[in-house]
């Protein structure tokens, strides 16, 4: 360590923080500020954009894209609940019944990540296709009506998003459940709680931190997702992400796209805030 640093050793942590912190400020904080400024501009790509403090864009954008905004929130909530219903029993099984297969089971949960997100989604498109090998076979046998389709329905989009984010739900739930001492559950059953009561009053409250992390890790990316809606859905399943993407990259309507990004971000932060308060209340009553 050079002598001048030794004399000012209080500076060391700041030197460590400086490069990474600056990177986040320049390429995360400043872009958000730029987005806010762009949303208040008016103009077109040809004539250029001028800052006019057009706050009216926010109510306008919400009114114009209310269907997509509401649908994104709905899909996000449904996906989170579904992923929890599938992921919780699975994490529970791995944590309490996994035995020596624990690590292998965990590996199986994260292994889908070894193939590209987009290839997996396209694979679902194969599987769900009207005349694909799955529905096609069912139709040939006659189990399913010829006109029946899964692709281009909300079912396809919601199951696609759930599929993508399920591992994000299982891992934090597993971490929280793993930490629980099985003796606590035994104690509850010894005190005449049924196994279901023991789960409800001991296991579930003790794993609430995992439930919290898991639901955020599925809700946030699910609300902002647009790839599943684009590949597996139709015009009737368009989410707010699709709108932002199209406005930004195709229509080049930067102000409205920027306004919608901010609306999405604020919407998510408000949802998280409400959710934190709800869970806090829960903890007090349990």
């Amino acid at each position: 360590m050079p002598a001048w640093l030794r004399r000012h050793s209080g500076l060391v942590p700041y030197l460590f923080l400086l490069p990474g912190g600056l990177w986040l400020i320049v390429f995360f904080v400043i872009p958000l500020i730029t987005t806010a400024s762009v949303s208040l501009q008016e103009g077109t790509l040809a004539t250029g954009f001028r800052l006019t403090f057009n706050f009216g864009i926010f109510p306008e954008a919400i009114a114009r894209w209310d269907d997509q905004l509401i649908r994104s929130l709905q899909y996000g909530l449904i996906v989170t609940v579904l992923a929890m219903l599938i992921g919780y029993p699975m994490a529970y099984t791995i944590a309490f019944r996994g035995g020596r297969y624990k690590n292998i089971l965990l590996l199986l949960v994260i292994m889908p990540f070894f193939t590209s997100f987009i290839i997996r989604t396209i694979s679902w498109k194969f599987i769900l296709a009207d005349q694909g090998f799955f529905l096609g076979t069912l139709k040939d046998i006659g189990i399913v009506d010829q006109g029946f389709r899964l692709l281009a329905t909300p079912v396809a989009v919601i199951s696609g998003i759930t599929y993508n984010f399920l591992p994000f739900v299982v891992l934090p739930l597993y971490v929280a459940l793993e930490r629980i001492d099985p003796k606590l559950i035994e104690a509850a059953t010894d005190l005449y709680a049924s196994r279901f009561q023991a789960f409800l009053r001991v296991t579930l409250p003790l794993s609430i931190s995992g439930v919290f992390a898991a639901s955020l890790l599925s809700f946030i990316p699910a609300v902002g997702d647009y790839l599943n809606a684009e590949l597996l859905g139709s015009r009737n399943e368009t989410m707010i992400g699709n709108v932002i993407q199209r406005l930004f990259l195709v229509n080049r309507d930067y102000p409205e796209a920027a306004a919608l990004s901010l609306i999405l971000m604020v919407g998510i932060l408000v949802s998280i805030f409400l959710y934190v308060r709800l869970l806090r209340g829960q903890e007090l009553t349990v």
Partner: protein, 283 residues
């Protein structure tokens, strides 16, 4: 004849046996669900397709494995781009993130609260907002889009993940080991090099692997910051509109297999490490 101390599994009432099978069977089904699209991807890499669409099975061929790199030069270039972006962004993000992780766990300083927020927020922000706001910045500042802007974006979203991973590792680390080294006459730099760094290295490796995986697979943020440059996920996405060639299935399968082999090697090495440790201690 000794009486059995507890009822063997076979003799338990059938209802209870069924009930205890529910969770494992359910878990097995979920694993099958997780692997179904990957299996489909692998199988359709062998499909002898007629025309552009790879939707129905038309016969077995090894043709696409043989002509993996020959048919689509743009696909090869996209893979190279993805690798360049992943390698550079992993190296830079891992370095910057590890430094922040060290500062957060080993030093007292002002401004810890805002810093934690600065690290948490990029993780809590949907990718589309990260990508869109970077595009807003680049457009406003008239920065031309291309490989450099993709790398900048990937470093940005990877830093937070590296900090979180490295911090978890350093937090569970015994400071007495460093003090012991200092007591034995090592200066701060030697202590860091010989004690601290080797101990936190597994955490840094894990963070680096995570950053690499996130970078090479990223679609959303890349789409916003790429301009005319095409990475592997972007190429696949573009191809999906006109029919994904089976070469993509083959590449997906290969990447999956390489990752599997890597994991198996890593597990084997770790096992050996663990069994080796007690013998060196005995000596």
């Amino acid at each position: 004849m000794a009486a059995p101390t507890s009822l063997p599994d076979r003799r338990r009432p059938i209802g209870s046996r069924l009930r205890s099978a529910i969770l494992p069977v359910f878990t097995g089904l979920v694993v099958a669900y997780l692997f179904l699209p990957i299996l489909v991807m692998a199988v359709f890499g062998f499909n002898d397709i007629q025309g552009r669409f790879n939707f129905t099975w038309q016969g077995f061929t090894l043709d696409h494995w043989a002509n993996l790199f020959g048919r689509y030069p743009a696909l090869n270039q996209s893979l190279i781009n993805s690798l360049i972006v992943a390698v550079i962004s992993t190296l830079v993000a891992t370095t910057l993130g590890t430094l922040i992780g060290l500062a957060l766990t080993r030093y007292e300083f002002r401004g810890r609260g805002p810093l934690n927020l600065l690290i948490f927020l990029p993780i809590a922000t949907p990718e589309i907002v990260l990508g869109a706001s970077l595009l807003a910045l680049f457009v406003s500042a008239a920065v031309p889009l291309g490989l450099p802007t993709i790398v900048i974006a990937h470093i940005m979203f990877n830093i937070s993940f590296v900090v979180v991973t490295v911090r978890a590792r350093i937090a569970g680390f015994d400071r007495a080991l460093e003090e012991a080294a200092m007591d034995l006459g090592a200066d701060e730099w030697t202590t860091f090099r010989k004690v601290t760094f080797p101990l936190i290295f597994p955490g840094i490796m894990a963070a680096g692997l995570l950053a690499f995986a996130l970078s090479i697979d990223d679609f959303v943020i890349t789409q916003f910051t790429a301009g005319q440059t095409v990475t592997f996920p972007l190429w696949v996405y573009g191809a999906s509109r006109i029919g994904v060639p089976p070469q993509v299935n083959v590449m997906g399968t290969l990447i999956f297999l390489i990752a599997m082999v890597g994991i198996v090697l890593w597990v084997v090495l770790q096992r050996r490490d663990m069994t080796a440790r007690p013998t060196t201690m005995d000596r």
